[in-house]
Symmetry: C2
Subunit: 403 residues, 2 copies
DNA sequence: GCAGTAAATTCTAGTGCTAGATTTTCTCCG
DNA sequence: CGGAGAAAATCTAGCACTAGAATTTACTGC
């Protein structure tokens, strides 16, 4: 069961690495910090903290500020050295390489987006075109930030396909997945960036981590064209050997769901079905050209009290409730976070789904909420993961030369 | 995402503890070992290994054998000290406190069962009766082993109810669960045993761990009266905040399953339904008194070619396939291990279910197998967990006085 | 300006670990 | 019997960490 630690690194280095990471984590997001504060936060002895800070300063991650008392809330005693993280020490790139759209962001080590660029992409584009679009979007974003490639140290790319570590690669099992991840991990090899490709729902889960209020078990549910879930258990994102944890094709087997289409696809199809069947007389939906009709119209109409749209929305809520029930029933989740481009409009649907949960769950302790991260969750998660990647390897890396 | 380590223990003690555990783990199951072998296995320096062995010897976990060269395969050089684990240094108790039956085992630190006792239990028994039965079975087993309570250091009790760590206790949410776990964690407090109560399916998963061929993602599926799964992801048993990971009430929502009854219950009910409907003419099942008819009869009859029984078995296979599909589709499992008292008879059902998997799974990389641990899996898992519990706390504990 | 006090830093001794040099304890072989 | 050779154990120096003593730096009140 307990698979034991890596066991190759001599214990002493391991501890050093761990301590450095803990100090860095403490300093990373916040205000300048004194050694005493770090001692309290990490539980390390003063000498240890000071030695680590010195090393991290030498390596360029921290700066020593000497306005010691200036900002400190105390007046007595010897003024402390203060160390501050340098968020501009390096840049990271986060990309949402979706089916229809590639969105790239350049961010500092706080995860603050400095510049971005998104390009539309024909869903039918071939592998070469997809790669080119990603390169293009990233190139524009970096240029727009007024920075150079050499300042970037890591890139994370989100794709709508499972990304596994063992067994047959996803791309060889499914041509769609091959297309969605056309060798992206090598895309920036020549620039020396650490590049990680990750499933989009998993990145959404990473993005929601800080909004999880420390919930140790939750799912980030992408609900647009297809369902997809990024699943965090015991505080850590779970991927599975083939990267397929949270793949939701299995919804085909769930009663009242029956297929794995997302809420967006479902809203569109159900509305059209009603129109086609002539059951939308008097509905504002009948005024929208059939080809243009999509989820947004339906949600808006339902909000305005349209009966036909309301029916469709009820259907969405029912489906969402069942999906949440299956996920949380099996995985004992504290929370399901509904997210993706559609999420901001889904408040009423989620509210209704919440009310339906007790029909399916014996003990509905799960909390279903709408993400407040907006439409760029995946990209946000990519940036966040890139930042974590850099942080966890801080001691291995020399910072890029300035400017 | 990364929730950080415990961060209270000073780093240096942490390392010591980790190293001790690694050494202990290496010695635990096997033959006498030399320091050199431990160095190779753990990657620690010679001085470190020797110091640890000395301490573990002082504390009574190991003995130093000086028949140095006698057993060693080499003839040259200075003969090495050899250390051997003392499996009799203490005893553990493992209990399967099921709905109908309580089965207790006393085992040594290798997990070898020294004595056992099981008692039948009326499913309607109240909390006091259940507690008494457990105490009774354990008492008899210890006596039968010819040992005393003082030699036992840990007990693990498996119950057919979720065992959580946060939120409302399972017992307060469901009276059945309250009955199944009637305050068992305090049962041996007066004897000073470390007592752990754990869900039965989770214990089955623990028991299957060594048979998992190192599979990092698998489920142990109890299939008797109700379905229940113990789920191992990334090499570690996942419990969930409320201990409800792998709870399968949610099967109500799966098409073609529709309720969470296990294969045993299903076989019985389906066979009776056919009898009642008069559709069992010519079947050997018609010869069995209706009240006595159960899964065993059905499986045996199907094995002998009985058509009606065959129909029922097909139904079981269909259901099992769907359950495996849901579990592995959502959790990216390498393996589902069908286990429990019925498992040995389920070979043909599993075989058929395996053939049905591709109907439900896009990429059926999961391997469905029958456990070969026999009917006492849960108790075996309980013993195993108790042993692991003792091992992981070896340095904290003084061994009980002998005899 | 000088004690008194507070809060930081620096210093010191001690522990666990590592790596490598040295010593011990064997067998083998002339 | 007395090396040569091999493998283990022991010794030594050095590093990371801890805990606590000593020291530094600054403000406060007299």
């Amino acid at each position: 069961m307990t698979h034991g630690a890596e066991a190759t690194t001599p214990s002493t280095h391991l501890v050093r690495r761990l301590n450095a990471e803990r100090v860095l984590q403490e300093v990373w997001d916040g205000e300048p910090v004194t050694a005493s504060a770090l001692m309290a936060a990490t539980g390390l002895a003063r000498s240890t903290v000071l030695a680590l800070c010195r090393e991290l300063t030498d390596r360029g991650w921290l700066v020593e500020l000497d306005d010691a008392r200036a900002a400190g809330a105390y007046t007595k005693g010897r003024p402390a050295l203060r160390y501050a993280f340098r968020p501009d020490a390096a840049l990271v790139v986060g990309v949402d390489a979706g089916q229809h759209r590639v969105s790239a962001a350049v961010a500092d080590l706080h995860g603050r987006v400095v510049a971005e660029e998104s390009v539309h992409l024909d869903p039918g584009s071939d592998a070469a075109a997809r790669r080119a679009s990603v390169l293009d979007a990233v190139g524009v974003a970096v240029a727009r930030a007024g920075r150079t490639d050499r300042e970037v140290v890591a890139a994370v790319l989100g794709v709508p396909a499972p990304v596994g570590t063992t067994g047959v690669p996803a791309g060889e099992r499914n041509p769609f997945w091959a297309l969605m991840n056309p060798g992206l991990e090598d895309l920036f090899a020549d620039r020396g960036w650490d590049t990680v490709v990750e499933n989009d729902a998993n990145l959404a889960a990473v993005a929601e981590a800080e909004h999880g209020d420390g919930a140790a078990a939750y799912a980030a549910l992408l609900v647009g064209e297809r369902f997809g879930a990024g699943i965090v258990l015991d505080g850590t994102l779970r991927r599975g050997p083939r990267g397929a944890i949270g793949e939701m094709r299995i919804l085909d087997l769930v009663e009242g769901v029956g297929r794995s289409d997302g809420l967006g696809a479902l809203a569109r199809d159900e509305a059209r079905r009603r129109l086609d069947a002539g059951r939308a007389a008097g509905s504002v939906l009948a005024d929208v050209p059939r080809d243009r009709l999509d989820a947004e119209h339906v949600l808006a109409a339902a909000g305005a009290g349209d009966a036909v749209a309301g029916e469709v929305v009820d259907g969405l809520a029912d489906r969402l409730a069942r999906v949440c029930a299956v996920l949380s029933g099996l995985l004992d989740l504290d929370r399901v976070i509904v997210t993706g481009a559609m999420a901001p409009a889904l408040g009423p649907v989620v509210e209704r789904a919440r009310a339906l949960l007790p029909d399916h769950l014996h003990d509905p302790s799960v909390e279903v909420v709408v993400s407040d991260l907006g439409p760029d969750v995946v990209r946000t998660g990519a940036v966040r993961l890139a930042v974590e990647h850099v942080r966890s390897r801080a001691l291995d890396r020399d910072l890029p030369a300035e400017g």
